[in-house]
């Protein structure tokens, strides 16, 4: 509608003073308009309340009793930091923003990288490489992940906003070394200065106490015939130990698209590598490997139960009393 045309028609209507027959005794316009607007607002509110409800908690500082710290607790702390306060999984995941470190064997990867011509750092082993990558990430940028000018988009981990302490970075190094079955070379912080004794570290989440609890926790029973579940959406797992090795089972969990069982849709979530703690993954792998037939299920679960004790200890070893 052009401006001139609009003007012409408004002029024509302007002198039309005919009375419009308003409905007498009906619902007033203001009430109808208000009800309509509030209805729309409530629809928006309803949608917001129907979506997944997740809170983003700020990292909480807790005291760590360095004297009682064990390597298992230190590794668990590293995993929690990796997925929590360190915000590493924000980019290091399966969405392609940065190398998916939880799937990669980082010990082997580190050994290869420090030999590359493009590597500009001073690291001689995986421990020093991991430390260096956190405080100076541009020493080596994986091809395809850099950006113009400032080579690495990764923040410096020991500075704000992440601001991990040296002890916390050591825990992440221990986790990265241990997660693929390696032996951590990083030393436990036992003689830290007074200030560092109250190093901040997030409270490690409580792991599942048994393989059965872990299988239920991660919803495996929804698709697989395992424990009491008769589900046939995914391959049955009650006899999986008779047809797969431990390594194959582990790979199927952390990288389900690597091998798709014939006759089943590729629908298994690829997020378990991010979600599961190392101990939980190993408990499930052991449990499934021992599941070679219906009779062995109970025995296997009985055998795996003691394996959870160190993890339980890991939770209690940490003084969880907050500073605040």
């Amino acid at each position: 509608m052009t401006t001139k045309a609009a003007t012409k028609e408004v002029t024509a209507m302007d002198n039309d003073s005919r009375f419009i027959n308003q409905e007498q005794g009906g619902i007033p316009v203001i009430v109808k308009v208000l009800a309509f607007m509030i209805f729309i607002i409530l629809v928006f509110t309803g949608i917001a309340n129907k979506l997944p409800q997740v809170e983003g908690q700020a990292p909480k500082d807790i005291k760590v009793d360095l004297g009682a710290l064990t390597m298992d607790v230190y590794i668990a702390m590293g995993e929690t930091l990796f997925k929590g306060k360190g915000t590493c999984t924000l980019c290091h995941n399966n969405l392609g923003r940065a190398p998916d470190m939880l799937v990669m064997n980082m010990e082997e990867t580190a050994a290869e990288r420090i030999k590359l011509a493009e590597y500009k750092g001073d690291a001689k082993d995986s421990e020093s490489y991991f430390f260096e990558s956190m405080v100076d990430p541009s020493k080596y940028v994986v091809p395809g992940y850099g950006k113009k000018g400032d080579p690495s988009p990764m923040p410096t981990i020991d500075k704000a906003p992440i601001g991990l302490s040296k002890i916390e970075m050591g825990a992440i190094v221990a986790f990265l070394q241990a997660k693929d079955g390696g032996e951590p070379t990083v030393e436990l912080p036992t003689d830290a200065p007074a200030a560092a004794e109250t190093a901040s570290a997030p409270e490690p989440p409580k792991p599942a106490a048994s393989a059965e609890e872990a299988l239920t926790k991660y919803g495996c029973t929804a698709c697989h015939a395992v424990l009491d579940s008769p589900s046939t959406i995914g391959p049955e797992l009650k006899t999986v130990g008779s047809r797969s090795s431990k390594e194959e089972i582990r790979t199927s969990i952390i990288n389900p698209s690597a091998v798709i069982a014939e006759g089943f849709p590729p629908i298994m979530p690829a997020t378990f590598a991010d979600q599961m703690m190392v101990k939980e993954l190993e408990m499930i792998v052991d449990f499934l490997y021992e599941s070679k037939g219906a009779d062995t299920v109970q025995d296997a679960s009985a055998e795996t139960a003691p394996a959870t004790e160190p993890e339980a200890a890991a939770s209690t070893d940490t003084d969880q009393e907050g500073e605040k």
Binding site: D14, V33, A48, C91, A222, M268
Partner: protein, 613 residues
């Protein structure tokens, strides 16, 4: 004749001269106060506060403890400030936006010589005037709340911004002065050259208002991406270094454009309400035209908003990839599903209003058969846009769904599908707009057939291009091409819009105009004018929340930690409830404003006794 030539000596009235002098003095004072090389600049604020000769180093950002936070009873401080700040921002956006398009409408009135534009502009301003004082009241309440509940944080912000806040206060005085003169001199400066003085006042008002907006934006962007301070928060630069952070200009542009869309939508609701309550056909026609104009302003300003938003988000990523991912791919990512619902509501409402508006003109019947196809495209695209990628499900739900990704909906949840959907929605909306513009025309240019065929070809090629780029590069190549192809999709959409405007303006030359019956839109169609401001208001609250929440547990990102009990990002439901509280409160305030604006038109009938005399 509208423009009568007055004697030259009256060209600039004495009042305007005085005001211009005050403005000049004010600007001089402001420049002196914020100039980086004077003792009044922020970086030297400490030196000013101390006796001469005793240089004092600036303080780092304080570490916050429980004593640095206060509460009003058991009320959450964050919730209280959240609602008050949101209401202040709603009202401020409205009062800053209205004079922008009012001045343009006033100018159109001068150019066309039609007083109705002038009357409409004046009526828009009348609505805005009541809102202005309420903006100031909420602004004052917000300032007091912040100083009461977050005294240490506000102390640090005062340390950083120093005398700049007084510039803001002075600008507010100036804004008030110019606003009152602009509004109350409307009829005193209506004709002849005096009208140009009035228009100049309008430009001045918008200049001051926009400066106010930019000054306040600097506080928000400093909290997101601090500049002019070191890692500990110690001020190292002048006030210009502090204000000119990496996100300042993107936010300035985004808020400036969004305010216009928001203001247009709110006055559209005013016109819609007045139209439904009209007692005569003349009133109904007038407010129908007013509603159409307001809707036009809102949609016109809305169309470039995605590009302004893209720039802001690109700068956020450039500043901190972590911050960008927190917004778009982290805990806040689900909010973009709600954003899709809101923008879908806006586009569907705008289209519905245009389709209903076509009933004003007999010539529109030629195009009605196309509406159902546009409607289907919009609805299907909208449903694709709101399809989530990943779902947090219970084991039972996973079993019922057949996996975490529904086999049919999984591919629709990712960005390539959404890019196709959004671009098709924009193209569909432009087609509705183009059909509406053509409804009252009979094109007479000899090449009309070729022009129409060219336009149809552009639409078909663009739609095919948008779908092909999305499907091929989105599903059959890697991520790098996926991102690159989205730019080509947007270019296809822009080509449709630009070529449509150009081809139509050439084809409309010498076109025969068909009659338009203002006021003949259905009442149901007018309700779209109420859906628009609600969706805009909720959207503003939502995106403001996302912008603020990307700071996570920092008052000032990387410099000053938030150690309050509210230092977490609340879940979407809680945030949505807060937005609803703010939106309903704003709705009630706006109804009050409309009522007050209407009150001035109401005249009491002369009592019978006096009438008899």
């Amino acid at each position: 004749m509208l423009l009568q030539k007055p004697p030259y000596k009256n060209l600039i009235p004495a009042a305007s001269k005085s005001m211009l002098t005050i403005f000049a003095l004010f600007m001089l004072l402001s420049m002196v106060m914020i100039a980086p090389d004077t003792a009044w600049s922020s970086s030297d604020a400490a030196a000013v506060a101390e006796p001469a000769g005793e240089a004092v180093e600036n303080m780092p950002a304080p570490t916050m403890g429980p004593r640095d936070y206060r509460q009003i009873g058991s009320m959450s401080s964050r919730s209280f400030v959240w609602v008050v700040a949101q209401l202040h921002l709603f009202l401020a956006a409205f009062v800053l936006a209205v004079p922008l398009f009012v001045t343009v409408i006033e100018w159109i009135g001068v150019k066309t010589g039609d007083q109705r534009y002038d009357d409409m502009a004046h009526e828009f301003m009348k609505v805005s005037m009541t809102a202005y004082s309420l903006t100031a009241l909420f602004g004052g309440t917000l300032a007091f709340s912040l100083f009461l509940l977050y005294p240490t944080f506000m102390g640090y912000m005062m340390e950083v911004f120093g005398n700049q806040v007084m510039v803001y206060a002075l600008l507010f005085f100036l804004e008030s002065g110019v606003l009152y003169i602009y509004y109350y001199s409307w009829y005193a400066l209506r004709y002849g050259n005096k009208k140009y003085v009035h228009l100049t006042l309008g430009v001045l008002l918008n200049g001051v208002g926009t400066t106010l907006l930019f000054v306040a934006n600097a506080w928000a962007t400093f909290m997101m991406a601090p500049s002019g301070v070191d890692d500990a928060g110690v001020v190292t630069g002048g006030i210009w270094d502090i204000m000119r952070g990496p996100l300042w200009n993107p936010l300035n542009l985004h808020r400036f454009v969004a305010n216009i869309a928001f203001g247009g939508a709110v006055v559209g609701a005013y016109a819609g309400y007045k139209m439904l309550s009209a007692r005569t056909m003349a009133q109904r026609a007038h407010y129908d035209w007013m509603g159409y104009t307001a809707n036009f302003i809102a949609v016109l300003a809305f169309l470039p908003l995605p590009f302004a938003g893209y720039w802001l988000m690109a700068e956020i990523y450039a500043y901190s990839q972590q911050m960008g991912i927190t917004a778009m791919g982290g805990i806040l990512a689900w909010l973009f599903i709600v954003q899709a619902v809101l923008i879908g509501t806006i586009l569907l409402s705008a289209n519905y209003y245009l389709w209903n508006g076509m009933s004003r003109c007999e010539g529109a019947k030629r195009y009605m058969w196309l509406i159902k196809y546009i409607a289907v495209t919009l609805v299907v695209s909208f449903l694709i846009w709101v399809t989530p990628h990943t779902l947090i499900l219970s084991a039972k739900e996973i079993a019922a769904l057949g996996g975490s990704h529904h086999p049919l909906l999984g591919p629709l949840g990712i960005m390539p599908a959404k890019n196709i959907a959004v671009n098709l929605m924009l193209i569909g909306t432009f087609l509705s707009f183009q059909l509406y513009r053509r409804a009252d025309k009979v094109i007479t240019v000899p090449w009309a057939g070729f022009g129409n065929a060219l336009m149809v070809a552009i639409y078909l090629v663009a739609i095919a291009n948008v779908i092909f780029l999305g499907v091929y590069f989105g599903y059959f190549t890697n991520t790098v091409y996926k991102v690159g192809s989205s730019v080509a999709q947007v270019v296809s959409t822009l080509i449709v819009i630009i070529s449509g405007v150009v081809i139509d303006s050439m084809m409309f030359k010498g076109a025969k105009t068909l009659p338009v019956k203002w006021g003949h839109i259905s009442n149901r169609g007018v309700y779209a004018l109420f859906a628009l401001p609600i969706a805009f208001t909720w959207l503003m609250a939502l995106m403001g929340y996302v912008r603020s929440s990307v700071r996570t547990h920092w008052h000032v990102y990387t410099v000053m930690k938030d150690n309050s009990v509210d230092n977490y990002i609340p879940n979407i439901g809680h945030a949505g409830n807060m937005m609803t509280v703010a939106t309903i409160s704003f709705l009630l305030i706006i109804l009050f404003i409309f009522w007050v604006a209407s009150l001035s038109e109401t005249k009491q009938a002369l009592p019978a006794k006096q009438s008899a005399k």
